[in-house]
Amino acid sequence: MKTRSIASLLLTTALTFAAAGVASAQDKTVKIGALSDQSGLYADLGGPGSTLAAQMAVEDSGLAAKGWKIDIISGDHQNKPDIGTAIARQWFDVDKVDIIVDVPNSGVALAVNNVIKEKNGVYINSGAATSDLTNAQCSPNTVHWTYDTYMLAHTTGQALVKAGGDTWFFLTADYAFGAALERDTTAVVTANGGKVVGGVKHPLNTPDFSSFLLQAQSSKAKIIGLANAGGDTTNSIKQAAEFGIGKGGQKLAALLLFLTDIKAIGLETAQGLSFTETFYWDMNDQTRAFSKRFADKMKNNAPPTMVQAGVYAGVRHYLKALEALGGNPHDGVKIVEKMKSMPTEDDLFGKGEIQPNGRTIHNAYLFEVKKPSESKGPWDFYKLVGTVPGDQAFTPLSESKCALLKK
């Protein structure tokens, strides 16, 4: 009796282990969590559009036909780091999510970065700007797509200093993102012989900028650098026009502008602004075809922003890595290593690579906002001014402070 029960116990254990072994080798289930600001000032540049982008990436991967089961869930971090980390923890612990994508708002993005590292998940950030994600706070689980503050400073910022804008005043959003963007841009300004004469830190989501704009105006700086994003940037630009700042000889530097921001400001006010993005819907046949499919599924028929495009490209690359691995090992570090070992290529960003610190390298483009008379459609906003190759736009590995590089 006793020997029999022990035998059966051993048998069951063996079977369980065998089953588990089979599952890990051929496990073709994936759960993607799209974590974003779904209703606040960044919802239009990420938000529901990013979830849609992730869905389209899954559909376009064709993995469903090969027996993969891929689910997507979405969450609203409301621009609060505590809510973001709580959702991330729940996703890993309860919902068994493998990968978190998007996450605009640098404050939330950095907080979530730690959770994902702790849970050994995969993090493809497209929405946040802070270059810290691939520098001081880099993680073996993280890939940063689309853009960062270093890139913004070394494209738009550098171009303006070289064109004679050698004194700067910053309007900075008072959280991790604004601080990082101001820091990286200041470095570029001083390195090119310019000077920062002052600045003001405003709370996130400020409706009225007149007070700050007056301070910028009286500083007499040639360039007013907007180290803010989304609704804060659109309000700054609109109200700067109202206070006659452009006419007084001062120039606004919108360091970070998205397609949806231009829509919100209107071409009448936005025309002539120069800025940098890594994706625009109207670049070539592939981007136009993708954007058409995307816009057809959006409620307000908006084409994708660069953040949403980054979510698509990131998820596509992640799924390619999983396919190459032959199954989902549910091991974040291993998957990200695989992603880094494969060159990136997709219709939206073209060819690129993921550096050892997690930074994705691809081209960046200098754009100028069209005049109302030049615009031929509801989203026809940009004129291409120049292309900056990826290796010049993003942090060179020699300058990166990422601990992963020291091995």
């Binding site: 919802a43 007149s210 301070q215 105006q217 009286s218 109202e242 006659g244 007084g248 949806t260 006010t269």
Partner: protein, 287 residues
């Protein structure tokens, strides 16, 4: 010193919005005893109605100043007739919860269709440009906002405190049964009052459309500050809410100059201080 003058003036401009919004809240609270949390949502609707009038109907800003408050006011009156009137006599909490729910639904619907970044609304041609005051460049539109809202505030105060209609209104809140006995249609008067309060919020919405983005959350961001203004001024006090509205705008403006990081919180710090010293607000009477 010059910079200080400029900040004072800018504060006055923001104060105009606080005053207009808190005035509407005070009227509604004073006459209907409802804490109208939907006030931010109707402010937003005012701006959106102006946007639709311009872009769908080609109706300009000046007409929008008249039409948007009427349209949104009618929406408010329908709300009052169909929902709020059933709460008469119940605890304040019910009205607060109901209007808060309404606000969330209205904002959600707008957000669903128009996204969160907002829509542009241009400054009317007649008010474009600005003038150099020596110490600052004042956009004409901002000057217009201050003057116009001051006029509206004083007119509303006059209507309620100095006219026969206002006297009926105040009497109806004190003792509705007695006023009804004099042959006054009290329920209708209350509906119209709610419409007036909501219309004032919509008017503020139209005024702010060219300055801020026309966004679904424009009211939600503002309403909490406005509530603090009303609490500081004293719930239900018309003149109190007008004066505190302008005063707090100025104080906030000065904070933006001296310590910008605190500009979001200064109003609430003041609220706490006032409540500690005088719980009924600066001009409020004991309930």
């Amino acid at each position: 010193m010059q910079a200080l003058y400029a900040q004072l003036l800018v504060g006055l401009i923001n104060g105009s919005f606080y005053a207009l919004l808190s005035l509407g809240l005070a009227v509604i609270f004073g006459m209907l005893n409802i804490i109208n949390f939907a006030h931010g949502a109707v402010y937003m609707m005012g701006a959106f109605v102006a946007y639709f009038l311009l872009n769908l109907g080609g109706i300009n800003y000046w007409w929008a100043l008249l039409l948007a408050p009427i349209i949104v006011g009618i929406f408010g009156m329908i709300l009052e007739r169909t929902m709020l009137q059933w709460l008469t006599g119940l605890d304040h909490l019910y009205g607060l919860l109901l209007t808060f729910g309404i606000a969330l639904i209205v904002q959600g619907v707008f957000q669903n269709y128009f996204g969160s970044s907002g829509l542009p609304y241009a400054i009317p041609d007649q008010l474009k440009g600005g003038m150099n005051l020596g110490f600052m460049f004042l956009p004409i539109y901002r000057g217009w906002v201050v003057v116009f809202s001051l006029v509206v505030c004083i007119a509303t105060w006059f209507l309620i405190e100095k006219t026969r209609l206002g006297a009926y209104l105040r009497a109806a809140t004190e003792n509705p049964t007695l006023v009804r006995a004099f042959g006054v249609n009290v329920p209708r008067m209350i509906t119209l009052t709610y419409g007036l309060g909501v219309g004032l919020a919509a008017l503020a919405g139209v005024l702010s459309a060219p300055i801020n983005q026309v966004r679904p959350l424009m009211g939600a961001d503002l309403i909490i500050v406005v509530f603090a203004v009303v609490v500081i001024g004293g719930m239900g006090s018309i003149m109190g809410s007008i004066i505190t509205g302008f005063a707090l705008g100025v104080i906030e403006g000065l904070t933006k100059y001296f310590y910008p990081e605190a500009s979001n919180t200064v109003v609430f710090v003041l609220m706490v201080l006032v409540l500690l010293v005088k719980p009924t607000g600066l001009t409020g009477r004991a309930a």
